[in-house]
Protein backbone atom coordinates (compact mmCIF):
# COMPACT_ATOMS: atom_id res chain seq x y z
CA UNK A 1 0.00 0.00 0.00
CA UNK A 2 1.19 3.48 -0.86
CA UNK A 3 2.87 5.08 2.17
CA UNK A 4 1.29 8.48 1.66
CA UNK A 5 -2.09 6.77 1.53
CA UNK A 6 -1.40 4.92 4.78
CA UNK A 7 -0.36 8.20 6.40
CA UNK A 8 -3.50 10.01 5.24
CA UNK A 9 -5.68 7.18 6.50
CA UNK A 10 -3.95 7.38 9.87
CA UNK A 11 -4.56 11.12 10.02
CA UNK A 12 -8.17 10.68 9.04
CA UNK A 13 -8.62 7.89 11.56
CA UNK A 14 -7.18 10.04 14.37
CA UNK A 15 -9.35 13.00 13.50
CA UNK A 16 -12.47 10.83 13.24
CA UNK A 17 -11.64 9.19 16.55
CA UNK A 18 -11.16 12.58 18.22
CA UNK A 19 -14.62 13.59 17.03
CA UNK A 20 -16.19 10.30 18.11
CA UNK A 21 -14.59 10.56 21.55
CA UNK A 22 -15.67 14.16 22.05
CA UNK A 23 -19.26 13.93 21.08
CA UNK A 24 -20.43 10.46 20.23
CA UNK A 25 -21.44 7.16 21.69
CA UNK A 26 -17.79 6.05 21.61
CA UNK A 27 -16.92 8.83 24.05
CA UNK A 28 -19.66 7.64 26.40
CA UNK A 29 -18.37 4.06 26.22
CA UNK A 30 -14.74 5.10 26.68
CA UNK A 31 -15.62 7.13 29.76
CA UNK A 32 -17.98 4.56 31.27
CA UNK A 33 -15.94 1.40 30.73
CA UNK A 34 -12.34 2.53 30.29
CA UNK A 35 -12.21 5.66 32.47
CA UNK A 36 -10.88 7.75 29.61
CA UNK A 37 -10.45 11.51 29.98
CA UNK A 38 -12.13 12.21 26.65
CA UNK A 39 -11.16 15.87 26.36
CA UNK A 40 -7.46 15.14 26.90
CA UNK A 41 -7.61 12.13 24.57
CA UNK A 42 -9.24 14.13 21.77
CA UNK A 43 -6.66 16.91 22.14
CA UNK A 44 -3.80 14.40 21.96
CA UNK A 45 -5.28 12.80 18.85
CA UNK A 46 -5.70 16.15 17.08
CA UNK A 47 -2.14 17.17 17.93
CA UNK A 48 -0.76 13.88 16.62
CA UNK A 49 -2.88 14.13 13.48
CA UNK A 50 -1.49 17.60 12.76
CA UNK A 51 2.06 16.32 13.28
CA UNK A 52 1.40 13.57 10.74
CA UNK A 53 -0.05 16.06 8.23
CA UNK A 54 3.35 17.78 8.27
CA UNK A 55 4.96 14.46 7.31
CA UNK A 56 3.01 14.26 4.04
CA UNK A 57 4.81 15.24 0.85
CA UNK A 58 4.11 18.92 0.12
CA UNK A 59 1.96 18.34 -2.96
CA UNK A 60 -0.04 15.59 -1.25
CA UNK A 61 -0.38 17.69 1.91
CA UNK A 62 -1.78 20.60 -0.04
CA UNK A 63 -4.36 18.45 -1.80
CA UNK A 64 -5.20 16.57 1.37
CA UNK A 65 -5.93 19.83 3.20
CA UNK A 66 -8.09 21.03 0.32
CA UNK A 67 -10.06 17.80 0.30
CA UNK A 68 -10.54 17.86 4.07
CA UNK A 69 -11.81 21.43 3.86
CA UNK A 70 -14.20 20.53 1.08
CA UNK A 71 -15.42 17.08 2.13
CA UNK A 72 -14.19 16.49 5.69
CA UNK A 73 -13.34 12.92 4.69
CA UNK A 74 -10.52 13.20 2.14
CA UNK A 75 -9.78 9.50 1.72
CA UNK A 76 -12.54 7.03 0.97
CA UNK A 77 -12.73 3.34 0.08
CA UNK A 78 -13.78 1.93 -3.24
CA UNK A 79 -16.00 -1.05 -2.56
CA UNK A 80 -17.39 -3.16 -5.37
CA UNK A 81 -16.05 -0.65 -7.88
CA UNK A 82 -17.95 2.26 -6.32
CA UNK A 83 -16.35 5.33 -4.72
CA UNK A 84 -17.76 5.63 -1.21
CA UNK A 85 -17.33 9.39 -1.34
CA UNK A 86 -19.54 10.23 -4.31
CA UNK A 87 -21.01 6.77 -5.02
CA UNK A 88 -20.01 6.84 -8.67
CA UNK A 89 -18.48 3.76 -10.35
CA UNK A 90 -14.70 3.73 -10.74
CA UNK A 91 -13.41 2.46 -14.11
CA UNK A 92 -12.63 -1.26 -13.81
CA UNK A 93 -9.03 -0.77 -15.03
CA UNK A 94 -8.29 0.83 -11.65
CA UNK A 95 -9.54 -2.15 -9.69
CA UNK A 96 -7.74 -5.09 -11.32
CA UNK A 97 -4.09 -4.63 -10.33
CA UNK A 98 -2.05 -6.89 -8.04
CA UNK A 99 -1.71 -4.31 -5.25
CA UNK A 100 -4.45 -1.89 -6.24
CA UNK A 101 -3.28 0.55 -3.56
CA UNK A 102 0.39 0.71 -4.56
CA UNK A 103 -0.12 4.09 -6.23
CA UNK A 104 -1.88 7.13 -4.88
CA UNK A 105 -5.17 7.44 -6.74
CA UNK A 106 -8.09 9.82 -6.78
CA UNK A 107 -11.68 9.47 -7.81
CA UNK A 108 -12.09 11.06 -11.21
CA UNK A 109 -15.53 12.31 -10.25
CA UNK A 110 -15.17 13.85 -6.79
CA UNK A 111 -11.37 14.13 -6.51
CA UNK A 112 -11.11 12.39 -3.14
CA UNK A 113 -8.16 10.09 -2.55
CA UNK A 114 -9.31 6.49 -2.85
CA UNK A 115 -8.20 3.06 -1.68
CA UNK A 116 -9.54 -0.18 -3.05
CA UNK A 117 -11.19 -2.68 -0.73
CA UNK A 118 -11.79 -6.18 -2.05
Amino acid sequence: MNEQLVLMLEIQDMTAKAKEIESGELGDLERAHFGMDSTAAATTLRQKAEELVEELKPNVRERFRKMVKRFDRAVVPVIGGVCFGCFVSIPTATAGEQDPNADLQSCETCGRFIYILA
Binding site: E10, D13, E25, L29, H33, F34, G35, T44, V76, L117
Partner: protein, 150 residues
Protein backbone atom coordinates in the same frame (compact mmCIF):
# COMPACT_ATOMS: atom_id res chain seq x y z
CA UNK B 1 -26.92 -9.73 16.96
CA UNK B 2 -25.19 -12.28 19.22
CA UNK B 3 -21.55 -12.03 20.23
CA UNK B 4 -21.09 -15.74 19.57
CA UNK B 5 -21.68 -15.17 15.88
CA UNK B 6 -18.82 -12.68 15.64
CA UNK B 7 -16.10 -15.06 16.85
CA UNK B 8 -14.60 -18.09 15.15
CA UNK B 9 -12.66 -20.91 16.84
CA UNK B 10 -9.54 -19.83 14.89
CA UNK B 11 -9.66 -16.42 16.54
CA UNK B 12 -9.62 -17.85 20.07
CA UNK B 13 -6.35 -18.78 21.81
CA UNK B 14 -6.33 -19.96 25.40
CA UNK B 15 -2.54 -20.09 25.82
CA UNK B 16 -1.11 -16.73 24.77
CA UNK B 17 2.66 -16.92 25.04
CA UNK B 18 3.79 -13.28 25.03
CA UNK B 19 5.34 -11.70 28.08
CA UNK B 20 5.06 -7.99 27.25
CA UNK B 21 2.12 -5.76 26.38
CA UNK B 22 3.36 -5.04 22.84
CA UNK B 23 4.11 -8.68 22.06
CA UNK B 24 0.78 -9.73 23.44
CA UNK B 25 -1.08 -7.22 21.26
CA UNK B 26 0.81 -8.56 18.23
CA UNK B 27 -0.04 -12.14 19.16
CA UNK B 28 -3.69 -11.19 19.58
CA UNK B 29 -3.71 -9.43 16.22
CA UNK B 30 -2.18 -12.51 14.60
CA UNK B 31 -5.36 -14.42 15.48
CA UNK B 32 -7.21 -12.42 12.83
CA UNK B 33 -5.21 -14.07 10.02
CA UNK B 34 -4.14 -10.88 8.23
CA UNK B 35 -1.04 -10.43 6.08
CA UNK B 36 2.18 -9.06 7.66
CA UNK B 37 1.71 -5.52 6.44
CA UNK B 38 -1.88 -5.34 7.64
CA UNK B 39 -0.80 -6.72 11.03
CA UNK B 40 1.84 -3.99 11.32
CA UNK B 41 -0.67 -1.25 10.44
CA UNK B 42 -3.21 -2.64 12.88
CA UNK B 43 -0.64 -2.89 15.66
CA UNK B 44 0.16 0.81 15.27
CA UNK B 45 -3.52 1.70 15.47
CA UNK B 46 -4.18 -0.51 18.49
CA UNK B 47 -1.12 0.95 20.22
CA UNK B 48 -2.32 4.46 19.52
CA UNK B 49 -5.55 3.68 21.33
CA UNK B 50 -3.63 2.13 24.24
CA UNK B 51 -1.50 5.26 24.47
CA UNK B 52 -4.65 7.28 25.15
CA UNK B 53 -5.33 5.10 28.18
CA UNK B 54 -5.19 1.38 28.83
CA UNK B 55 -8.12 -0.73 27.69
CA UNK B 56 -7.63 -2.90 30.76
CA UNK B 57 -11.01 -2.48 32.45
CA UNK B 58 -10.09 -4.33 35.64
CA UNK B 59 -10.73 -7.81 37.06
CA UNK B 60 -8.15 -9.28 34.71
CA UNK B 61 -9.83 -8.19 31.48
CA UNK B 62 -8.72 -5.89 28.64
CA UNK B 63 -10.57 -4.93 25.48
CA UNK B 64 -8.16 -3.45 22.92
CA UNK B 65 -10.29 -1.87 20.21
CA UNK B 66 -10.02 0.42 17.21
CA UNK B 67 -11.18 1.17 13.72
CA UNK B 68 -8.71 0.29 10.99
CA UNK B 69 -8.58 0.18 7.22
CA UNK B 70 -7.19 -3.35 7.40
CA UNK B 71 -10.60 -4.64 8.43
CA UNK B 72 -13.22 -4.91 5.73
CA UNK B 73 -15.76 -6.06 8.32
CA UNK B 74 -16.00 -6.23 12.10
CA UNK B 75 -13.33 -8.63 13.40
CA UNK B 76 -12.99 -10.05 16.92
CA UNK B 77 -10.47 -12.24 18.70
CA UNK B 78 -10.09 -13.56 22.23
CA UNK B 79 -6.88 -14.57 23.97
CA UNK B 80 -6.10 -15.80 27.46
CA UNK B 81 -2.71 -15.40 29.09
CA UNK B 82 -2.17 -17.90 31.91
CA UNK B 83 -0.44 -16.06 34.75
CA UNK B 84 -1.48 -12.70 33.33
CA UNK B 85 0.66 -9.71 32.37
CA UNK B 86 0.95 -6.09 33.42
CA UNK B 87 -1.31 -4.13 31.05
CA UNK B 88 -1.63 -0.87 33.02
CA UNK B 89 -5.20 -1.85 33.78
CA UNK B 90 -7.51 0.55 35.56
CA UNK B 91 -7.22 -1.48 38.82
CA UNK B 92 -3.47 -2.03 38.45
CA UNK B 93 -3.95 -5.81 38.50
CA UNK B 94 -2.52 -8.23 35.92
CA UNK B 95 -4.67 -8.96 32.88
CA UNK B 96 -5.48 -12.52 31.85
CA UNK B 97 -8.26 -12.12 29.30
CA UNK B 98 -8.04 -10.08 26.11
CA UNK B 99 -10.84 -9.25 23.70
CA UNK B 100 -9.69 -7.60 20.47
CA UNK B 101 -12.27 -5.66 18.45
CA UNK B 102 -11.40 -4.17 15.06
CA UNK B 103 -13.92 -2.37 12.87
CA UNK B 104 -13.54 -0.83 9.42
CA UNK B 105 -13.43 2.98 9.20
CA UNK B 106 -16.74 3.02 7.37
CA UNK B 107 -19.14 0.40 8.60
CA UNK B 108 -22.41 -0.11 6.83
CA UNK B 109 -23.89 -2.35 9.53
CA UNK B 110 -22.77 -0.01 12.34
CA UNK B 111 -22.04 -2.84 14.77
CA UNK B 112 -18.78 -1.62 16.28
CA UNK B 113 -20.07 0.45 19.18
CA UNK B 114 -22.91 -1.90 20.16
CA UNK B 115 -20.42 -4.81 20.12
CA UNK B 116 -17.88 -2.86 22.16
CA UNK B 117 -20.62 -2.10 24.70
CA UNK B 118 -21.77 -5.72 24.77
CA UNK B 119 -18.27 -7.10 25.28
CA UNK B 120 -17.65 -4.59 28.08
CA UNK B 121 -20.93 -5.60 29.69
CA UNK B 122 -20.14 -9.30 29.28
CA UNK B 123 -16.71 -8.78 30.83
CA UNK B 124 -18.21 -6.97 33.81
CA UNK B 125 -20.47 -9.88 34.74
CA UNK B 126 -19.04 -10.87 38.15
CA UNK B 127 -18.96 -14.57 37.22
CA UNK B 128 -17.23 -14.11 33.88
CA UNK B 129 -13.56 -13.63 34.93
CA UNK B 130 -13.50 -16.96 36.78
CA UNK B 131 -15.45 -18.72 34.04
CA UNK B 132 -12.95 -17.50 31.44
CA UNK B 133 -10.04 -18.79 33.48
CA UNK B 134 -11.62 -22.23 33.69
CA UNK B 135 -12.18 -22.63 29.92
CA UNK B 136 -10.66 -25.80 28.51
CA UNK B 137 -11.03 -25.24 24.78
CA UNK B 138 -12.07 -22.54 22.29
CA UNK B 139 -15.51 -24.06 21.81
CA UNK B 140 -16.16 -23.64 25.54
CA UNK B 141 -15.44 -19.92 25.11
CA UNK B 142 -18.04 -19.70 22.35
CA UNK B 143 -20.53 -21.58 24.51
CA UNK B 144 -19.90 -19.19 27.40
CA UNK B 145 -20.55 -16.23 25.13
CA UNK B 146 -23.78 -17.84 24.06
CA UNK B 147 -24.83 -18.39 27.65
CA UNK B 148 -23.85 -15.03 29.09
CA UNK B 149 -24.48 -12.50 26.35
CA UNK B 150 -28.00 -13.14 25.16
Amino acid sequence: MRLRELFTVDAVKLQLESETKDDLLKELISLLGLDDKSEAILFKTVKRRENLGSTGIGKGIAIPHCRSLVANRLRLAYGRKPGGIDFNAIDGAPVYNFFLIVAPPLEVSNQYLPVLGKIAQFAKDPEVPDLLLSLENPQAFLDLLDEKSR
